[in-house]
């Protein structure tokens, strides 16, 4: 079976899952105690019978739940996720505006977590049962045990408040205005515009939350890379490489690491779900204006349409990253046997 057929088959499996995600969201909205009209109309329009009737007709609220379900699917398909109670703006527009900040944070955290995770995993496997190995294990366990909403707080009070090494919360200083968005990621945008002071400011704001968030996934990656490195290092082809006269570093990096990284791809890709979970909390602590803090603000205000929009977006993003991960795995592993 070739790679294209595999990709095609995986893509074909995506729509049913997306439909399932939407169905769950719809069922939750049926369970919800909140009057759906609140999520469609601004408050002042609720007393206007004409507007209410129009909205009911448009959303099929006067019809059976099944009809409502199809109307709902149709609306979501056209990008209409309803109006937020809190911001009084379309949820879809809120989400698009918030997305780049989360993307920047999650990518930075994933970069930090996987680089550190892979590096420590490799060294821990090379010096198995050494002091370093045990230290890495402990560090990793701390990372997955510490609540990010607390470690963020601790880091902020140490590095920003006490030591003053990093700026406070937020994406940029309070007096800095972001330039016109290109990608919406401040670090990338400022690089494109060649605005170095802006780049360093964005980066210095990004470092602390990225470390806090990245630390939580670093442990899983480090443990997995260590395990698969140990597996690989005991293989004959490693002995073969040594017998060819390859030096220690070459054996480790050229022969062992690529083999050990293949299973790591899956874990790094799948850790996206943990990062989204962690981002919700990290963004709240760091006043990071992304999807995560939007979700928390909406949840605290019981802003139902907003929280459903976030959940749908999260589900879709999660499904897509898993798909990309599996395809990347299939491409990278030349010996993979696809059923």
């Amino acid at each position: 079976m070739n790679i294209y057929r595999y990709i095609f088959r995986r893509l074909a499996g995506l729509p049913p899952l997306l439909l399932g995600v939407l169905t769950i969201a719809f069922l939750l909205s049926q369970v919800s105690q909140v009057d759906p009209l609140n999520s469609i109309l601004p408050e002042r329009m609720l007393s206007n019978p004409a507007a209410v009737a129009a909205a009911k007709a448009r959303w099929g609220l006067d019809k059976s739940p099944l009809t409502q379900y199809f109307v709902y699917l149709q609306n979501v398909a056209t990008g209409d996720l309803g109006v937020s109670f809190r911001t009084k703006r379309p949820v879809a527009r809120d989400l698009m505006q918030r997305l780049p900040a989360t993307l920047e944070l999650v990518v930075a955290a994933l970069l930090f977590g996987s680089v550190l995770g892979v590096a420590t995993g490799v060294v821990a496997a090379r010096f198995r049962d050494s002091v370093f190995d045990h230290a890495v294990r402990l560090f990793a366990l701390f990372g997955s045990s510490i609540p990010v909403f607390w470690s963020g707080l601790v880091f902020l009070s140490i590095f920003s408040v006490q030591l003053g090494w990093t700026p406070g919360p937020g994406r940029l200083g309070s007096r800095t205005a972001a330039g016109p968005p290109i990608t919406g990621l401040h670090t990338i945008d400022s690089l494109i515009q060649g605005n170095w002071p802006m780049f360093f400011e964005a980066l210095s704001h990004l470092i602390l939350p990225a470390i806090v968030l990245g630390w939580s996934v670093m442990g899983i990656i480090s443990r997995l890379v260590r395990g698969s490195m140990l597996d690989v290092l005991s293989q004959d082809y490693i002995a073969m490489a040594k017998a060819k006269g390859a030096g220690g570093l070459r054996v480790l990096l050229r022969h062992a690491l690529p083999n050990a990284l293949i299973p790591a791809i899956t874990v790094i890709g799948y850790s996206f779900a943990y990062l989204l979970t962690g981002a919700v909390l990290t963004e709240t602590i760091f006043s990071w204006p992304g999807i995560g803090s939007y979700a928390v603000e909406s949840a605290r205000a019981l802003d139902y349409p907003a929280i459903m929009g976030v959940t749908m977006l999260g589900g879709a993003a999660f499904l897509l990253t898993n798909l990309v991960t599996d395809i990347a795995y299939a491409i990278v592993d030349p010996k993979i046997k696809l059923q």
Binding site: Q235, D236, Y237, A239, M240, A241, K242, A243, K244, G245, A246, G247, R250, H255, P258, N259, I262, V332, D333, P334, K335
Partner: protein, 333 residues
Amino acid sequence: MTSENLLDVRDLTIAFRTPRGYVEAVRGVDFVIRRGEVMSLVGESGSGKSVTMRALMGLLPETTRISGSARFLGQELIQKSGRGVHGLRGARMSMIFQDPMTALNPVMAIGAQVAEAIRIHNRSISRQEVRDRAVKLLRDVAIPFPEQRFDQYPHQFSGGMRQRVVIAMAIANRPDLIIADEPTTALDVTVQAQILELLRNLCAEYHVGLALITHDLGVVAGMAQSISVMYAGAIVERGSVEEVFYNPSHPYTRGLLGALPHLTGRIERLVDIGGNPPTIFALPEGCAFSPRCAFVQPRCRVERPLLRQVRSAYAACHFAETLPAYPVQEMQA
């Protein structure tokens, strides 16, 4: 030590670190390999034959204790740090592994793996030249369409073809000594013969010494000039293939030859020798073979026999001369 000795191993002892302390897996092994000679190392699984050869290649874990001497081309291989040996490994001596299914890196193209063997020891030659030489090596080991197969991955090759690639890497730098660790055990019977034929021709052509680790006495008879029999980490009999096959002096060797089945020549299960080999954790007093020996005497249980000359070969048995005459067997080739 004569000048024609390629490899001269003296009193090689290897101890592994285990949770119960250091345990000797190889105890005082001596042997010599001459240029152009095929020396076979024979014994049951766990007798220490692979460990001995892996120690010479520097493939044992860092925690392993190795003592004794192994002089190769006048250089000492057993050193505290492996630095001096580094340039020899893969260049002047190389190794062929048992299972070609696992001996090749699955994520590296075949050509790149062969080219690496050349490149590591010749930093100065051009990329194109390395590629040309690698293709020529693949052709030398009779891989069809080497140009086309250069960029393919191991999983696209059959077992026999993979073993040819491994051999190509082993001869890449025209070594003086090749260590082959059961090179045909994992292959189909028909492919075995082809690989042995290839090895035999290459050894003759390049005039290299070959250390052949094997279970298969049929292979020994067909390829080797000298033989060393290992039991429980020590050599119990050593000599020319003719002498040892026709006139074995050690009861264990007799058992091995007696166990030689007439069709396949495999000795994986030694039906004629009762009992199991001892574990290295609990060696018996005296002669390690004494619990299984049909000719055992009281002395054997207290005094460990040393390897000593018996006729034109060497054997480690107190009663080598007084054993009953060996029935001359028909050789299987």
